[in-house]
Symmetry: C2
Subunit: 144 residues, 2 copies
């Protein structure tokens, strides 16, 4: 490739990552709107549905989001009565995030929602798996 070719937007890896991420999020939006959730809030619920009652640093590690992003986000989710935020007894620096009943109940609607979305992204299951593993390879290399 010519030197100049490397400067083209379309030849970058960073841009399609950025664009695809936002487009996929946008694709989720209408369905999430029905549940009154934003996309990062949905990700928090995915973590909690898998393992309830985790502290902020665990959530932070799983989502790769820092406390300055998660704290206000979780406060909003607390106001919506989706999660509880309680100081740990063992370590009073720690905040334990747990699901409320309302937060639990949202889980039941998600499989149907996911199947509705899965058919819309226009790639095969195999391509999805390749994409998945390459993205995780990237993530493992870049995080920390």
């Amino acid at each position: 490739m010519e030197t100049d070719e490397f400067l083209k937007l379309e030849n970058q890896l960073c841009f399609p990552l950025y664009a695809a991420s936002r487009l996929v999020t946008k694709c989720y939006q209408p369905v999430l709107d029905e549940m009154g959730l934003t996309y990062p809030q949905y990700l928090v619920l995915l973590v909690l549905w898998e393992k309830d009652s985790v502290n902020l640093s665990v959530l932070s590690g799983k989502l790769q989001l820092q406390s300055n992003t998660l704290t206000p986000l979780l406060k909003r989710m607390q106001e919506m009565d989706l999660v509880n935020r309680v100081r740990s007894d063992q370590d009073e620096r720690s905040i334990i995030i747990s699901l409320t009943e309302k937060g639990q109940l949202l889980k039941s609607g998600v499989p149907e929602m996911q199947s509705r979305l899965a058919n819309n992204i226009g790639i095969t299951q195999e391509e999805g798996q390749v994409l998945h593993s390459l993205l995780y390879k990237l993530i493992e290399n870049l995080k920390v």
Copy 2:
């Protein structure tokens, strides 16, 4: 896969996309900081270095960002003397974005910056190409 498996964060495609995108951006940040740029501002420059003097709707289409994101972003870039924003003579609704001399000059430092970054993402060139084409397939399916 069990129904519950689909609900795990790690089995989603949306999350690794979102996380990888942010991690790659963060990887660019130190180098962009030296140039005084944010990541979306760098993307705007990539478009303009390839083709100078485009109107906002073209930029909007290429970056898949709307006017409510681009307008304030471009105003900041104008204040930094990186771009000019001029109303078109032919169509007074249109805003033409062009590079200032300062914006032009930044281009020269980029190839070196890109090669510095390329070695850090930890995937092979072939994997990068596969990732690239899958992401574009996703983008083409999802946009509009």
